[in-house]
Symmetry: C2
Subunit: 494 residues, 2 copies
């Protein structure tokens, strides 16, 4: 009976993972090469496939299967136990949502991306507003149906970062704000202003060459993934053996593509290094957005903006751009790639102001899910918060509330994980430094030791361990944001 | 009851079409950008999705639904009637195959592509042979299970070209051989040999520029499709609003990419111009491979190798390659792009020898499905037939039996449709010439009249009319291969 049930669970896992694989592929396709003209049919397909996923998963048979297995948890092997946990979580998250709502919502989502894109291009929030309004209505309905106690926003925060609540985030962000706001002021006053060279004209083919050079050096396995371009860079894993990253190139900016590529490579390393023992399974993906961002931001910032990394790589970059980077010393380069600036666009923000961008989004999302807000008021709320936290005000909605894709995909509760990820990264780095000489490794671009530690302590587990367990087991203590503040002060307050 | 059943059929159509859409996308992805490393997981996914397709479709409810609707066919609207026909056909084709076999076969297919690719690259048939053997065993088993009377090969011929049989093809090919073999000899004796300029070095970026220039000129709608590259060019329709073509570029050959692009554009025009009234449906795709090839080959040969087409386009091409094409007159160019040569590679063959390449494959497939053949003997059978029909013998299997991808996908019965397509094209052209001045249109690259006729008489029907009906309604008579022979003699025997 138990053996039979385990067999049933594995079959279900395999089938749902296959359907999810096609959903991921639809998303990949839509965001890279799909025709504008095909949006209607794509939306229908997305709806139907969601329906198939839903109907395969949400039924009494599966409910009973998960219950029965859960009752005999003690007798299960580690992998099965982890599968039961993750599917019970997933089941509880959607079981109470009617299938019609679930699939209508998927259709809405697959259409609203185009609306958001159009709105952003035309700097006109009103094109996106009706979609956003409907998405919020659905999300609120789903939260209510899921029926969890506590702050309504907690329900969706937990989807992206299990265990994280408004209470934890309020404390985290309050502490961050108190230490970052004065730090920003201090850094801005004294830092070098010699950064204009970043914005010369840099041949895009050579930028691509540098990106292609750096990703395998960082540990990316080109035979189990690939890189291409998209308007909004992202990483997508079809399987651990097919992990795709996108980057983007700007002719008048040399750093944008470099750090985007390194960031996405960090995500990709996580996915590629999950243990193969899980096969094609719900366990074979990063466990949470926070842990995922800890990897991308660790690579981008803690490693990629470290001076030793550039001791090795700046000569290579200078070789590509002999004329443009002729007079750029390592000191000048390091200062430029770590320049702190109060700016409007999150993805272009430096490490220090970055959490302030997240706080704006956090405050708005918290408001959306605890009050009745007219979506048309959101742009001015956004602009006011930017003025309050960063001291600058967007001139239009494209550089304001329309800058991020997330809400068009219904991804509320996602943003805080970026800030959490940066904080986790600092805690991981602190631990790693006790075991290895990171600076020396970077100085020689010897990434094996770093890669191995991340793989053994984080990556290989996929979704089989919860974020809090990963942090505890990897660093010996629970999440502690002091390391993040310490990291920022050590690096910027000197 | 009838209304309910129609509703049920539409829901089924929509769901199966959505699943098929994801299968097409998996195929697109595999043949364009997917990682080599991901082949195992892709195969599992392909198997699972096939299982979903099969289980959704092949069950007693659907069988009864189709029966009930079929009994009241007279009361149905045109679209529903066509859907009933097409789904009854599809149902009968797979209903007798056990689901396990069906999905195991899909897994096999999705793996054998890589094996074929490897075999071709390494010029080693033995790498592909075990896969081919298994595919043939499955195919023979399926043919038996489907239980149709007549020659076993007929069952799968009918899958690609409904209504076509070994008896029809034997007659068609006999007649063709009798007229083509002497024609090849005649042309080879007297034609100009001044074609070496084709194989200079031609900058690939400029070749891409010409391809991008020509596809919208031919009528391709760039907002409802796109073009990229792949090793083996093909056209794939996710929907009528997302039709994708691939081409390939060879630096030392100026004509290869041009005619590949025009050929695939012909396929794409068919898909893009299907009436939108069918929505996302099994009706929204070309009805058969023969009709499809009639469109691609009409564009490639009847239009694209017409001298008037080049009166307009050669100056544009010469502008791109001022140095390389300096001394190339229209006469010299026309002779070169219509040069006849006994060669080994089907896709590089000229119009006149092309059907001989098809006959080789036809003879082998007929043999495979009527005798017990050891797959290891196939390469020498292949080589012998090339010697017999074309007077030349492949030096290795890469330029012999491994040249085509089709068998690795289980697509036996497909090849004859290429020859049929060319013959249909000649019959269509003959009719079109009674209604319009094709040469004048081409001379001005005015494609609207041509596009409109093809749309109104062929494209718009999608799969709602059988190939024989399309030919009859469009040309006023049934398929007659004399037009093809007449076309070839008119063009080449002068």
């Amino acid at each position: 009976m138990l053996t039979e049930n385990i067999e049933k669970l594995n079959k279900l896992d395999s089938k749902l993972s296959a359907v999810f694989y096609t959903q991921s592929l639809l998303e990949w396709d839509a965001e890279t090469i799909a025709s504008i003209g095909g949006v209607e049919e794509r939306a229908i397909v997305a709806g139907k496939i969601s329906e198939i996923y839903f109907n395969t998963f949400i039924n009494t048979d599966v409910e009973n299967l998960l219950e029965e297995l859960n009752e005999r948890k003690a007798e299960l092997d580690e992998i099965t136990k982890a599968k039961v946990s993750i599917y019970k979580r997933k089941f509880d998250n959607i079981a109470k949502i009617p299938v019609k709502d679930y699939s209508d919502y998927q259709v809405l989502i697959s259409k609203s991306y185009s609306a958001w894109e159009k709105a952003k291009n035309e700097e006109d929030f009103s094109i996106f507003a009706p979609f956003l309004e409907k998405i919020i209505i659905y999300q609120k309905k789903f939260i209510k149906l899921r029926g969890k106690s506590g702050h309504p926003y907690n329900t969706i925060l937990d989807d992206f970062e299990p265990g994280i609540t408004v209470e934890i985030l309020d404390e985290f962000f309050d502490k961050l704000r108190d230490s970052i706001v004065p730090l920003v002021q201090k850094v801005c006053d004294k830092q070098s202003k010699d950064i204009d060279f970043i914005n010369q004209k840099f041949d895009i083919a050579k930028q691509a060459e540098f990106s292609e050079y750096i990703i395998p050096k960082l540990g990316f396995d080109n035979s189990r993934g690939m890189m291409t371009t998209s308007v909004h860079p992202f990483t997508l894993n079809l399987s651990r053996n097919d992990v795709r990253i996108t980057t983007h190139f700007q002719e008048n900016n040399i750093t944008e593509s470099i750090f985007t590529t390194i960031h996405e490579t960090g995500h990709a390393m996580y996915e590629q290094n999950i243990s193969e023992k899980y096969g094609l399974s719900a366990l074979t993906t990063g466990v949470s957005m926070g842990i995922h961002e800890s990897q991308s931001r660790l690579y981008e910032n803690n490693l990629g903006r470290n001076i030793n990394f550039w001791n090795f790589n700046l000569p290579i970059l200078k070789h590509l751009y002999e004329k443009e980077l002729k007079d750029v010393s390592i000191g000048k380069w390091y200062a430029a790639v770590n320049h702190v600036k109060r700016s409007l666009i999150r993805i272009e923000a430096d490490e220090v102001t970055y959490p302030l961008h997240i706080m704006v989004r956090y405050e708005i999302e918290k408001k959306i899910f605890s009050e009745d807000i007219d979506v048309n008021e959101l742009p001015s709320i956004w602009n006011d918060l930017y003025e309050e936290y960063l001291g600058i005000r967007p001139k239009n909605d494209a550089e304001g509330i329309l800058q991020d894709v997330h809400w068009s995909g219904g991804d509320f509760g996602y943003f805080p994980s970026y800030a959490l990820g940066s904080a986790y990264a600092a805690q991981f780095e602190k631990t790693m430094r006790k075991k290895m000489d990171i600076d020396k490794d970077l100085n020689n671009l010897e990434m094996d030791e770093i890669k191995e530690w991340l793989k053994e302590n984080i990556h290989k587990y996929g979704s089989s361990k919860m974020p809090s367990e990963i942090i505890k087991d990897a660093t010996g203590e629970k999440f502690n944001s002091d390391y993040y503040i310490e990291y920022l002060y050590n690096k910027y307050d000197n």
